[in-house]
Every structure is written in C-alpha cells, then in structure tokens.
C-alpha cells in the first residue's frame, strides 16, 4: 500500500507519462478528440515533471504546488494501489478539559530486497537507477544458520554518480558475520548495495528507503562517442 507522499506522486506520474505516451502511440491519427485529450494530459504531466527538476531550488511550498497538481492531472489517486491514510483518533470532548487529537501516521514500508545466496566474492544485493533519488537508507540483515547481524546503511551521491558517500552502523554479531561486509557504489547508471563475502551461502535482505529526486535525467549521448543514457529533451 502506498502513502501519497511527494516521492510516490512523482514516481506514479512518471509511470503515467509512459502510459499516456503509449496510448497516444497506438493511434494513427493525432486529431481524434480522445487522442488530443491524451496529448494535453501527457503534455501537462511532462511540463510539471520538467518543472520539478528544479526541486532543489524550490521552497517546500513551491514543490507542494507542483506535486499537488500532478496528483490531479496524472490521476495518481486513481491508481489501483490505494494510498494508506493516516489514522486519526476521534477527538474526545470533555467539558471543562483539554481536547487531545492524535494522528498516527503510517510510514512507507520501503522496498524489500534480498539476495538469498551470497557466495565468496562481491554480489549486488539491491540496485536502482542513479537518477531516481539523492540518497537512500537500507535496513538490512545478514544471516546464515548460527550467524546474524542487522544494520543500517545510509548513502548519498551526486547526480552524475561521480561521488558516492555512505556510512554503516550495525548490531553486534550473533555468532560471526565478519566474513560479510557491505559497500555502496555506482556503476553503469545504477546505485548498488553490495555484499562482499569471504565465505558462501549468506542471506542478505532488508528494506530500502529512497530520498527521492525525480526527473533529473542523465546526459543524452553526445556526437563524439560518449556514453548513452536516458535524457530529458
């Protein structure tokens, strides 16, 4: 279940952009009223997502204006996955006493990941496209029978992947998990959460939480043989 946070609105808007572009592509004529309506919707989504690329320079209020508009034009609330709304206790009114209202907010459960067979060497446990976020937090557990630890890894990176910083904190070991260490790096357009193992048969699993940065894109291929990645026209 998704909470309608800023991050999920941007994510769902991008998926909606794909769907709208695809629906338009299925039509031969761009003049049919239903197709022109799709073009207007898609153009608006695209323009709002373009505007959101400047998010790091906007105030919170300015960002909220954009993603509230996206909520509407991208039909985010019409997605099959219903948002989980915060639970609100009914206020109790006591004559002559203070009224306390408590909202219990349900947070995003994160994206689960697992590599169920980490062997000697370096293996990727989780990865995602560099440009979808500025940073991430992984809650993880490393285990195999008789050996276990849990920890938190935090990472942040520049939009070109040239600089990735990360830090790690964990519990003490149950048994001995020292053969497994965690690293975070960037390669081929992906941020990677990786396990470096000195022995076989480890399970590394957990949940990942993104600090979302949508729409920043990656440089388009240049005319002189440079790398090709997705870009934003």
């Amino acid at each position: 279940m998704l909470v309608p946070t800023e991050a999920t609105v941007i994510y769902q808007s991008e998926l909606k952009l794909i769907d709208v572009a695809y629906e338009i592509s299925l039509n031969r004529s761009m003049r049919k009223p239903e197709v022109r309506k799709l073009i207007r919707q898609g153009t608006n989504i695209f323009l709002w997502l373009q505007a959101y690329q400047a998010a790091s320079f906007l105030t919170r209020e300015e960002r909220e204006k954009i993603w509230v508009c996206l909520l509407d034009i991208a039909d985010v609330n019409n997605f099959a996955v219903a948002p989980v709304l915060g639970q609100t206790n009914q206020p109790s009114v006591f004559v002559g006493q203070a009224n306390n209202i408590t909202n219990n907010v349900v947070y995003d459960a994160g994206v689960p990941f697992i590599n169920g067979n980490v062997d000697t060497g370096t293996e990727t446990v989780d990865s995602f496209i560099l440009t979808v976020a500025y940073g991430a937090v992984w809650h993880y557990t490393v285990r195999k029978p008789g050996n276990q630890r849990s920890g938190i890894v935090q990472a942040s990176w520049t939009s070109d992947g040239a600089n990735v910083v990360w830090q790690h904190d964990s519990t003490n070991d149950i048994g001995d998990t020292s053969p497994v260490t965690i690293v975070v790096d960037y390669s081929a357009g992906l941020i990677r959460f990786r396990a470096v193992a000195l022995s076989d048969d480890w399970i590394v699993e957990g949940n990942r939480y993104l600090i979302y940065a949508p729409g920043s894109g990656v440089s388009a291929g240049s005319g002189d043989g440079g790398d090709i990645d997705g870009g934003t026209a």
Binding site: E14, L15, L17, I18, D19, V20, A21, Y22, I24, S25, L26, M30, I39, G42, T43, F46, L49, V118, D119, T120, G121, T122, E123, T124, I129, T131, V132, S187, A188, R194, V196, G217, A220, G221, G223, D224, G225, G226, D227, I228, D229, G230, G231, T232, A233
Partner: protein
C-alpha cells in the same frame, strides 16, 4: 558462479555504429577473465515481443578476450542482449545436467546431459552435447534447463538517441525560422517532447514494449523519409 556484470553503451559520432562494452571487473573476488569464455548476442525486438537477430562484431573477436561488441545502429526502441560467461571444462569437476563448459583447446561450448557427470571427455556424446549458440543459454535462466554453473544475463534497453538527434534538428530548424507560425510549430514540438520523454522513462522503468511502441510512433511522425 558469482559474477556482477556491467555494461556501458556508446554511439559513434556519425551515429552509424553502436558499441556495448563489457565493464565487468574480473579478477580479485570475481573469476579471472581468462578463466571464462564470454558470448553475446543481440536482438531488435518489436511491439509483439518478436526479436530479429542483429549481427555483432566482437572486439577482439575471441571469447577469451572480447571486451566490446559493435553493430549497425538500429532504429530506436527495444534491444535485447543475451550474455553468458562460461567456465572451462575441468576433468576433476562433477557436472550437473545442463551445466555448460568450454573446451580450452577449441573454445567450443558443451552442455552436460546428465547429473554426476565426472571425468567424461567432451567428445563423449552420451554425456555432452555441443552448443552452437552459447549466448542463447541466457534464455534458460529460471527454467528447468538452466545452466546453473554459468553467469547469464538478459540485458534490455529502450534506446532513443536517433529520436533525440531528430528532436534537436527539429528545435534547431524552428529556432532558425524567422517567419514560422508559432501556433503551427509548438504542437508538434510538444508532442515530440511528450513521446520522447515517455520513451526515456520507459527505458528507466523497464517498460520495453511500451517504449518500443512509442519509438515507432516517433519515427513515423517525425523522422524524414
């Protein structure tokens, strides 16, 4: 066989040739490069998920040392790469059914026909079958006939650089036009932007069929004949 595979893509300045480079870090905790034979194949996929083989030029043309593969740039859209890294045959190794190995004398690839396959020569047709298209073994990942002892990967992308180039040409042409009617040029500009970014997002989110369909529409509507 634990091996993290990495690729980079590049296009020539004349846009005639596209190159995929193997950026995998071999050695150290990973198998050494000279202990593997690497094979790659490529298909251009259509909206019905039907693939057409695209001829690759390996460089060097030797599975022991190949580091990149080039091909004539295809129309924008969905590309599907099949990659396998196969270990050498060891006479002292017990192979399971469907395990694949290469013959260090010939670089030919063979697949085991039985479990408990130990010490049998690769020429023994009771225990080994030759594989003429090693890269196709990548198709078996997750299937009952998967070769569990190799590293295989199906790498898929939606490439849009032709569209990005034509988009730049369109914008440049309109910028230079001093007597164009804005009401006529802005709608196609918006539609091209919308479709192109839809294709780029489809690549980012692995929506390959949709990306291919969008690219087909971009080509039919905005590329010069």
């Amino acid at each position: 066989m634990a091996l993290d595979v990495l690729f980079t893509l590049a296009i020539s300045s004349d846009r005639e040739t596209t190159t995929l480079t193997d950026a995998t870090v071999y050695g150290g905790a990973n198998p050494a490069r000279n202990t593997l034979r690497v094979f790659m194949s490529l298909q251009k996929m259509d909206v019905d998920s039907v693939g057409t083989v695209v001829a690759l030029t390996a460089s060097p043309n030797d599975p022991e040392t190949v580091t990149s593969w080039s091909w004539t740039t295809q129309p924008d859209g969905w590309l599907k790469f099949y990659y396998v890294a196969i270990p050498a045959y060891g006479v002292g190794t017990t192979y399971a059914i469907y395990d694949a190995v290469y013959d260090s004398a010939t670089d030919l690839v063979y697949r085991s026909l039985s479990n408990g396959n130990l010490g049998n020569a690769l020429s023994n047709v009771t225990f080994w079958e030759p594989i003429s298209d090693p890269a196709a073994l990548a198709n078996n990942e997750g299937e009952a006939n998967e070769s569990l002892n190799i590293t295989s990967l199906i790498y898929q992308r939606v490439l849009t650089f032709n569209s990005q180039y034509e988009y730049a040409v369109l914008i440049g042409g309109n910028c230079a036009c001093t007597d164009c009617d804005d009401d006529e040029i802005i709608p196609p500009y918006n539609l091209f932007s919308l479709l192109l970014n839809g294709a780029i997002k489809a690549d980012q989110w692995s929506e390959f069929v949709k990306g291919e369909q969008i690219c087909r529409t971009i080509q039919s509507k905005f590329f010069a004949c």
